[in-house]
Amino acid sequence: MAVARHINRLRLRAERQSILTRGVRRQVELRPVARRTDAIKPRDILLFATLRNESVRLPYFLEYYRRLGVSHFIIVDNGSTDGSGEYLAGQTDVSLWHTTASYKRAKFGMDWLNGLLTRFGHEHWVVVVDVDEFLIYPYWETRPLGALTDWLESCRLRSFGTMLLDMYADVPVSQTRYVEGQDPFEILTYFDAANYAFQRNGTYRDLWIQGGPRERAFFSEDPAQAPALNKIPLVKWRRGMVYRSSTHTLMPRGLNQVYAERGGERICGVLLHAKFLDVFASKAEEELARGQHYAASREYRVYDQKLSQDVNLWTPESTRFRDWRQLDELGLMSSGSWA
């Protein structure tokens, strides 16, 4: 038993080392466009993201995280052709790298980010999100991100767990109209309040969450294939840590245990997912053609098929989003012992 445990630990370490090495090696694929990392101060909160053709979403995204208290953005532009790169290079708090290498071969961008996190994330609180993910945590309207990270640190917590909450409008996806700079949640006002299932993964100790509108509308016959909704986007980074698969799972695995097991509640938040906008419908087609996504772009294939039928995710049982207290009350997040 003890031997098996020891072997397992060695195996996990080997896996982590190999992910780390891959991340560092793939740094050669990145060409710095605007490097302003010298401006990073010791206590700054940094944001890491990979993106492609997101010029419409970017202004609000940057604005949102600046307001939360992110001081510097470290971004990989994977061959944008819509001016995203130029826009980002013009921002004084963004360091930008450019690559045209394969997103899929770089483990869906995670290799690039793991490398950059190793280089610049050490001893910083880092936010790792996609451009359509917006972090919400208890008291976020009145307490900046720095208040949360200070408190987490005083509790000796190094990672903060969230669930990806898919937001949608009450009209079909193709009929939404998003304009640059707009708060996407003026349009995407609804969410699913209860249909989520949690499965603890014994090896990596993460909770695998599936459910929500995507499972309900796209995978009701085969729920095992539904996308995972667990994310750990806020971490006090230390060299040697890696994201194993997207931002679902971290290594060392202790960081994945963002939940209390003995009945209590640990503080946790939500990533509001602004995916289902008109800009997404066109993107699904493009992404499918590129074939650069997870599991042979299975998800995108289903979306493309369903979206062409103009699917509406809204039902009479959808809940209208109000504020974080509502999510806390519904049990989709928890303020834990933060008063």
Binding site: A194, E265, E317, S337, A339
Partner: protein
């Protein structure tokens, strides 16, 4: 005059703001800055304080949390204050993360009115559970030469070793260990007595190797030298279940304005609104008429409950049974009722239940094809769907989520306890489940088969009977935590009103109504079926049941003729 000892280790900007405000309001301030603070931080602090004659800096010591260095630092500050400002009558100890929450003028008045009173929380270690998390009496009876934060493991080992060796130190004579918050306010008289005590060096030597002496040194000595101690503290501070003080943010402003005490700890460095409000010289104008802490304390209580127990029935990414339960049975948020079989003999039962206020009456939630939600909808509360594959991936979590989603209401559903082992076991082991069960439901099921093929059914009887007995045994198993009431068809037919009464009493108060059990419906030909089975095998109480059904039918016929 009030003297203030300000212990600071980071946040020069905030410390300077606080010191300047106190000095401008007529206090004498001595700041002690941890020797580990950088020169740049120190320069920033002195620069920001500026040429304020009432703010002094004490010689800097290296302060390690939980060690005597903190006491030494404050002793140095006190000596400096008493020497330089002979007009001081009281000295308050504050940290750089404290803020006044009342106008300082009020504090002046309060202290003048209570000259020679010592405001210090000092509770006897022996008969009080003041310590939230950690050592209590052993802070004094063991040797603690190591800094806990720096040498955590060594510290624990040293404690374990001393416990094993049964080491028990003696307090210096005349001292009774007292403990309390280090944010006190002592009178000049008491401080003079403490500092002039000839045995002070002996006390210092003793406390040097106790643990967290800043929470016991002044407390113990104040008890020795003062006869006018009040434990009503001047600083508002509350501790969370992990023993850390709760931190205040901008959104606490209104709650803090209503808090009791003159200072609050601990303020988050970025709480701009709190600093602006409480360091405003015109704070008096903002003060409410009455202090009322209940809202603030309620919030802390909730945080504590969340930390310790959580909300029962909730599964989320911050609360999960984790590895503790191998078969992952999820608890439910409240009671619910499961009807097994009775819906078949009382055809209007579920309809009657659905009309009750704050009751949700589902059909068969665990039917094989789809989830039969109340109102036969395809999505229920919170968008739980009727998809059987989604439900069957995690049936117990599905139940848990469903009960959680409508936890304001009582939910009722029908379920046949037969084959679906996972959910059957989950329901039976859940103390929130109230199961009302018709024992002879298997006979009714068999009857429908018999109508189609009597011969085969007769042959299948023994097997069906033993399956029914297995289900019975499961109900009787010790692992069953659900509240179960089982009735037989015979009881319903012969017992009539009395059985209906019993059943309704068993149900939760929302649906306690015996009129629901008034019109029993036995399918035509059921009697013949029972007699037929009896011919093939004469057991299982079929005879008795057949007689009961016979009587029932006769009465029904009679009643129908009359009307």
């Amino acid at each position: 005059m009030i003297g203030v000892v300000l212990l600071a280790h980071e946040q020069p900007r905030r410390t300077a703001q606080l010191a300047r405000h106190l000095a401008q309001e007529g206090c004498r301030v001595v700041i002690h800055v941890d020797a580990r603070a950088t020169e740049a931080q120190m320069e920033a602090l002195t620069g920001l304080v500026g040429a304020e004659p009432n703010v002094l800096f004490a010689p800097r010591l290296k302060c390690e949390w939980g060690t005597f260095s903190l006491v030494e630092a404050s002793l140095g500050c006190i000596r400096l204050l008493l020497e330089r400002f002979p007009d001081i009558r009281h000295i308050c100890q504050l940290s750089g993360a404290c803020l006044p929450i009342k106008p300082i003028a009020d504090l002046h008045t309060h202290l003048e009115r209570h000259a020679n009173v010592d405001f210090i929380e000092a509770v006897s270690v022996e008969n009080d559970a003041w310590v939230v998390d950690g050592l209590s009496m052993e802070r004094f009876t063991l040797y603690h030469p190591l800094a806990f934060r720096k040498h955590r493991r060594l510290f624990d080992r040293s404690v374990a070793l001393q416990r094993a060796l049964r080491i028990k130190r003696q307090m210096p004579e005349g001292l009774v260990p007292h403990i309390g918050s280090q944010w006190w306010c002592l009178s000049r008289r008491t401080l003079d007595l403490i500092l002039q005590d000839p045995r002070l060096p002996e006390y210092c030597a003793y406390f040097r190797t106790t643990w967290i002496p800043d929470e016991s040194f002044f407390q113990t000595l104040a008890v020795r030298h003062s006869d006018r101690i009040t434990s009503a503290p001047l600083t508002f501070v509350r501790f969370d279940p992990q023993g850390k003080p709760y931190v205040f943010y901008d959104d606490h402003l209104d709650l803090l304005l209503h808090a009791e005490g003159f200072f609050a700890r601990k303020i988050w460095r970025g709480a701009q609104r709190l600093y602006e409000t409480f360091l405003d010289p015109n704070l008096a104008a903002r003060m409410p008429e009455f202090a009322d802490e209940t809202r603030l304390l309620r919030r802390f209580d909730r945080a504590k409950r969340r930390h310790q127990h959580g909300r029962s029935g909730l599964v989320c990414h911050g609360r999960h049974p984790g590895r503790q339960l191998r078969d992952q049975r999820f608890e439910t948020a409240r009671t619910y009722t499961v009807v097994d079989g009775l819906d078949a003999v009382f055809p209007h039962l579920m309809e009657a239940l659905a009309t009750k206020p704050s009751v949700v009456a589902h059909g068969a939630l665990f039917a094989p094809q789809r989830v039969e939600f109340a109102g036969d909808v395809s999505v229920f509360s919170g968008n739980l769907t009727d998809s059987a594959p989604i439900r069957d991936r995690k049936p117990t979590q599905f139940l848990s989520k469903l009960i959680w989603a409508e936890r304001q209401k009582l939910q009722v559903f029908t379920h046949r306890f037969d084959g679906n082992a996972v959910i059957d076991l989950a329901l039976l082991s859940d103390p929130n489940a109230h199961v009302l069960r018709l024992r002879d439901m298997w006979l009714l099921d068999l009857f429908h088969k018999w109508q189609i093929d009597p011969v085969m059914t007769r042959a299948a009887l023994p097997e069906a009977a033993s399956a029914a007995r297995r289900v019975d045994a499961r109900f009787a198993a010790p692992a069953t935590k659900a509240h179960v009431m089982t009735v037989g068809l015979g009881d319903l037919l012969n017992g009539g009103l009395e059985t209906a009464n019993r059943m309704s009493k068993f149900l939760p108060s929302e649906i306690r109504d015996q009129s629901m059990f008034s019109t029993i419906a036995i399918p035509a030909g059921f009697n013949a079926f029972l007699r037929d089975l009896k011919v093939s095998v004469d057991s299982y109480g079929l005879e008795y049941l057949a007689d009961a059904v016979e009587t029932h039918n006769r009465i029904n016929r009679f009643l129908r003729r009359k009307t």
